[in-house]
Amino acid sequence: MSTPVEVAYLLRRTGFGGREKEIGALGSLARHDLVEAVLTRPTSTPPVPECISDPDPGLEEWMRFELLGNWWFDRMVASSAIDVNTPSPIVERMTMFWHNHFATSAEKAYNVRAMYEQNALFRREALGNFRTLCKEMSVQVAMLVYLDNEYNTAGSPNQNFARELMELFMLGIGNYTEADVEAAAAAWSGHGLDYDENWRNPVYAFHPDEHDTQVRTFLGRTTVWDGPDTIDWILDNPATAPIAARFIVRKLWTWLAHPGAPSPVVDDLATVFINSNWEIAPVLHALFRSDAFWATTARQGLLRTPVEFAVSTYRSLGIETQHFSPQWPLAQMGQQPFYPPNVSGWRVNDYWISTSTATARADFIASALWTLMRDDGVNPSFLCDATGEGIGDHWVPYAERVPSAEVIPEVLRRFGVLEPSAGTVKALIDWHANYRTPPVDLWPWGERHFLATLVLLSPEFNLA
């Protein structure tokens, strides 16, 4: 058996939070089986979104990016740990992890089909194989454009991709030399793009005449190198395999448990990673089952990223992207998918804590609530009158005589906050009781508006 608090915690870290029925359904499982159930929920490949497969020729590229961004966001909102007809939460979460890790920005790779293909790869290999992920990512249009490898030729090397492949994607800084960068750049030369006669629609193409075929030494091995071989050698070389394993495992821990992974945990997970021949799923199983994951440091150790925060808000309020697009608010909060700030991606925790991100979250909530108050039929149950008529399943009944001390915990629970601090509960009760004290604000929806705002801005809602 697992408690609701435990199930809710796991669902927040393996996805975007747990709905009441999910928490109810999974509570009968003990920890080991709970993790298994969540990680192995059957999943299927989604159909290609319409903005890619059948684009309206009247749409500009940025509009198509908006549609693609919302397609992905919708998948995250809809994902459920128990409903196999929805996207799998862990798959969508890991898709975001790999998007952040192999950070590629649409700002430069301004090709919606290319960015979609990259996203589809991350989803396909979300819990797949790291070697496969690295190799396929390297020859996709998005990455060839973003890190300039399309310009990397034997006669005129461009080191951008080769350097970041080692520094940011596989090994971490300090674990290779400038000579290794030069050798890797040579290995990857010629892996470029072909464009059509209008310089559009790029596709991957290997140009043998631009490929360097000199013998070079890369990470201690001397031979003729081709790009994909460098990835194999990093992972197969006994000197660098452990470095790569620890590098990735540390990052997984940072994004799923807390920053600052303890050494024994890193060593254990790295061993799993290498022994499984770079399969990601076994690492996740081990991570989510570890005692360290269930300890307080981890439980209180991550803040919801803007995407997680926005997805949970949409679920809690019952709103949809077709009525209110989250793309611009996510940009203001600092995390618009497909637009990482640079090749090293986003960060966790204090990275998101600042006065302008605080303002951005508050502004986003205000806009989201405004969606509910418009007269277009979106979730009219939000607007209940004093008798409780028109109640939907998102809200507790509004009953004037229910004491604040009962309303508040119920509302918190509905928003997925199962462990509010005593201080947060008291602050909300005090506010609520005061709000109902004459002279009372007579906006019919004012109480809900402020109540939702305060819960969404509470510290506990914002913990991951």
């Binding site: 005129s156 803040l303 303002t359």
Partner: protein, 432 residues
């Protein structure tokens, strides 16, 4: 004089082309400033609005930092225009070379042999007026040419690596009394490491008016005080929850204070460097006691197609600086210095993508009415390039930081940087 002092003077003579044996201010100036300001008032942490001017001289000046993200191409920002260096530059850069630079010359003084990129007419005019110091060849030893590593080094102010020691401005903020509203602002949503200390962290604002917390109706006000209650009572949810709650609460206070600045004309229409610097000037003018503002401009990472892209980013920087200085009040202009920094420069030769790759040495601009105009540092060699087509830096960036910390911010560079570095003579007068 002690041996150390001699070493410092010698190092300074090597570093500073403008021959000057003063260390910034004379002793007489420092003493006068301290008497005028009243050190005791500063120690008491008096941050009431409007009293800053009286304490100005002993408290130190204000700093605006502009990070040029991606690695600014120093050699095209300030190309050599005469002599052997120009010949070497044009040969190395071929059709990527800038040949129509605006001459860098102070008044009717000797031409420097360099010019500014034609996209920078404002900076060139300020240089003519003696208000721009260009520190050339800035870098540090054992450079990896990695963006992330270099940014970390520049921001922490140490080559030891790692973020646990906080950033150099953050460590300075740690020494300041807690502000009433704010004393440090990052314009842009995420706070970079140099603005984060061990106990203090800068606030951040963006170019759009904050709506959060600025409404006056009673219901909203009642709700907002609940955020203060969250901040006071979230400990059982952990330190991260507490930090989040405090940020929400402090944000309301900050937003209410700065809201009027967004309603001034001209409107802040856009999110580029010009708007950010316009906001920066307004924030300083408002007399809130802000000591440091930092922002980012870019991208400068021109591995391909550099000419047009570089012209664009330098042009917007130049226009932004013009707006900044023309908006700044006379009082603030006397006590504000602007400094650019970039994680590295670019290599000497162009690559064949019509761009340049990462190089270890760059140039840094310091601008303001109290700045001692001129060329500082030694220009990196364009012919002795080592294995990686990349000249050695000639000035350690921490010397620049030390100079700004001691001679402008009135802080102890040794405490903040963890070691002593020879300072450059970047300022001709104390903040006014």
């Amino acid at each position: 004089m002690s041996q150390d002092h001699d070493d410092v003077r010698e190092a300074m003579a090597r570093l500073c082309v403008v021959d000057n044996t003063d260390e910034g201010w004379s002793r007489r100036q420092v003493l006068a400033a301290a008497l005028a300001g009243g050190a005791a008032a500063v120690l008491a942490g008096n941050t009431a609005l409007g009293t800053r001017a009286a304490e100005a001289a002993s408290v130190g000046g204000n700093l605006v930092l502009i990070q040029l993200a991606g690695g600014n191409d120093a050699f095209n920002m300030l190309p050599p225009t005469t002599g052997t260096l120009a010949t070497q530059y044009r040969r190395a850069r071929s059709d990527l070379a800038i040949t129509n630079a605006l001459p860098a010359r102070i008044g009717r003084g000797r031409p420097s042999g360099f010019g500014f990129h034609p996209a920078m007419p404002f900076v060139a005019s300020q240089y003519r007026a003696g208000r721009v110091a260009v520190v050339r060849g800035v870098g540090y030893p054992n450079h990896s040419r990695s963006h992330f590593d270099a940014i970390a080094t520049w921001m922490t102010g140490t080559t030891r690596g790692g973020m646990s020691s906080g950033g150099w401005i953050g460590r300075w903020l740690d020494t300041l009394p807690l502000p009433a509203i704010t004393d440090s602002v990052q314009i842009g949503y995420s706070i970079p490491p140099h603005m984060v200390g061990l106990t203090r962290k800068a606030d951040s604002l963006d170019v759009w008016e904050p709506g959060f917390g600025t409404s006056d109706d009673d219901s909203t006000q009642r709700a907002l005080t609940t955020l203060d209650s969250f901040a006071a009572s979230a400990e059982s949810s952990g330190a991260l929850a507490v930090r989040f709650a405090h940020t929400m609460s402090n944000t309301v206070a900050l937003n209410r204070t700065v809201a009027p600045l967004y309603r001034q004309t001209p409107a802040l229409d856009g999110e580029g460097i010009e708007q950010r610097l316009l906001l920066a000037a307004r924030l300083l003018n408002a007399g809130l006691g802000i000591r440091v503002i930092s922002t980012v401009h870019g991208d400068f990472d021109h591995h391909a197609g550099e000419l047009g892209a570089h012209t664009d980013v330098l042009g917007s920087l130049d226009r932004g600086l013009q707006r900044f200085f023309s908006t700044l009040s006379p009082a603030m202009a006397r006590r504000t210095t602007v400094m650019t920094f970039s994680e590295f420069g670019r290599k000497v030769h162009a690559n064949d993508s019509r761009g340049t790759d990462h190089g270890r040495a760059g140039h840094l601009l310091v601008l303001g009415s109290r700045v001692r105009g001129g060329m500082f540092g030694t220009h990196p060699s364009l012919t002795r390039l080592g294995d990686w087509d990349d000249p050695d830096p000639t000035v350690d960036f921490r010397s620049v930081y030390a100079s700004v910390l001691r001679n402008w911010l009135r802080a102890n560079p040794r405490n903040i940087l963890g070691a002593s570095y020879p300072t450059l003579n970047l300022f001709r007068a104390a903040p006014g």
